[in-house]
Amino acid sequence: MSSLPRWLARPLFYLLLGVYAWLLVLPLLSLLSASFRTEADLFTPGLLPPQPTLEAYREALAKHPILRYLLNSLVVSLAITLGVLLTSATLGYALARVRFAGQSLLFGFVVGLLLIPDEVTFLPRYLLVQELGWINSYWALIVPFLASPLGIFLMRQFIKSLPQDLFDAARIDGAGHLRTLWYVALPLAAPALGALGALSFLGAWNMYLWPLVVINQNEMKTAQIAIAQVQSVEVSSWNVVAAAAMLVLLPTLLAFLLAQRAFIRGIALGGLKG
């Protein structure tokens, strides 16, 4: 663009940005627009709803336990995030700062687990969860995901990169491993923990295949699979489906807007989604 005169290049650049952003966001805007329409207005042309109304939201909330679905998702995602942070910090610390027999072997083992995708383990894991009697419970949704090889790997790398002096000082002051982890390593690892937390939360909130197979009781469904449920009931009422989808989008959207930095760092760090 250096060959263009500056007074032209600037506006052209913004035009390009605006058009691209608009095209990217358009499917979401269409959904937003549908959610503010009545069923009769659904096919009226134009992006703006002719008579904006909250009717679809009222109907979605009245006919479907959307808040319950959201609560399920929130409980599951928060529990998984906390669990992952805890197990990643403890094992990550042990692999980085404690000397014990078989340490490098254990690290190799964790790294090896990074290569095992959920899609391969979900069938036998389903049989296991069934055996445990966890079908249709929070246990099934939470416990299998409380430890993450990626989280452990990332925390180990991070804690290993902290200066050794700090840990020596803690030792000399007589702090044990748990105190050192809590008072020395974790405060310094706050950015890494925030990024890992955002990544874990997003992954847990987005789970689809696993909740689909372990949950068939309506009130235990997570928000993601509940959308399929709403869609199959409201076949032609796209405004109600759209309202339900907007309600499911809202929490992650808010979280993303408020903690964008942590999300971006998490994604850049982990390079993995879900």
């Binding site: 383990t121 036998p124 790398q157 959308i227 869609q231 989008l249 959207l253």
Partner: protein, 310 residues
């Protein structure tokens, strides 16, 4: 001097030894190791081994017992046209998702990598799809592509083109789903590529400008070569995620029409939970595992290198 150095080193070495002798150290280490290890063993290692075990068995008609059948699940799989159709659909799907998502993501990243007034707003908009859950993305596109009310068909009609049966024709459904998937991944790709672009030293561009290189030359001679390790990594990650895409397919087409969108993972899901052939599904998932393992090994080498140099 040498003595002081030595004693310092000895001090460092001696501390853990002294600690190890202290009562409670063992308990502390156990507390650090055991929770994560137990969870990994029970919910990742055991199911992985069990996937192989299952794939060598077959359940009886009641589904109550499993008999050893050796490799016959695999033999059946290799002769099963439905399996090969699913494999073909999976690779066609990935072959569309990966280039589309990379190009769209790179375009976004190129525009917002360097600061300019308003960059924060456009970064938020370009990265936004990372915050959109798969199910919401699927519903949004389901409506966007609606045969009658959908915005896209409206536009086609406005310029005199016929409306398209995006998700209901066996030819169009899979490419359409691939576009939906690529759209949902744009934010993710843009974030990683923006980070990659920001690591390219500004000096290189300055030097190129001094030599009279235009924007086009700079892109091909500096940006693309310098970005290639990141691009490679992102491409592999995109291949991995597109080979296991499930939610959008389940919501938008249920594997149809005429099984045209029944990809590998969807086939596994159907064989296990609708045809009740768990061990046959397990064999297919082991096969998928081997493909993913190959790709993940490549990705891991990339990840290791990146972590190493940072």
């Amino acid at each position: 001097m040498i003595n002081a150095k030595n004693s310092e080193r000895n001090l460092q070495k001696s501390i853990p030894v002294r600690q190890a002798g202290r009562l409670g150290e063992g308990l502390e280490v156990a507390l650090l190791l055991l929770p994560a290890l137990l969870l990994l063993l029970v919910f990742t290692v055991w199911p992985t081994l069990n996937a192989f075990w299952l794939s060598f068995h077959r359940e009886n008609l009641l589904g109550t017992e499993r008999d050893w059948v050796g490799l016959s699940n695999y033999a059946e799989m290799l002769r099963d046209p439905a399996f090969w159709r699913a494999v073909g659909a999976t690779f066609l799907f990935a072959a569309i998702v990966v280039p589309v998502q990379l190009v769209l993501g790179l375009l976004a990243a190129l525009m917002v990598a360097r600061p300019f007034p308003g960059v924060a707003l456009f970064r938020t908009l370009f990265f936004l799809t990372t915050a959109v859950p798969t199910a919401v993305a699927a519903v949004a596109w389901g409506w966007y592509l609606h045969p009658i009310g959908g915005t896209l068909n409206r536009w086609l009609e406005a310029v005199g083109l016929p409306a398209q049966p995006w998700l209901t024709s066996p030819e169009l459904a899979l490419p359409t789903l691939a576009i939906v998937t690529a759209w949902a991944g744009v934010g993710f790709t843009a974030i990683l590529l923006t980070a990659g672009l920001q690591q390219i030293p500004e000096d290189l561009y300055e030097a190129a400008r001094m030599d009279g290189a235009g924007a086009w030359t700079q892109f091909w001679r500096i940006t693309l070569p310098m970005l290639s390790p990141t691009l490679f990594l992102v491409a592999l990650l995109t291949v991995l995620t597109s080979l296991t895409a499930f939610g959008q397919i389940h919501l938008l087409t249920r594997g149809g029409p005429m099984e045209s969108t029944t990809v590998w993972i969807y086939r596994i899901y159907q064989d296990a939970f609708f045809n009740f052939r768990f061990s046959y599904a397990a064999a297919q998932s082991v096969a998928l595992f081997l493909v993913l393992l190959l790709l993940a090994a490549l990705q891991f080498r990339g990840l290791g290198r990146r972590v190493h140099y940072e």
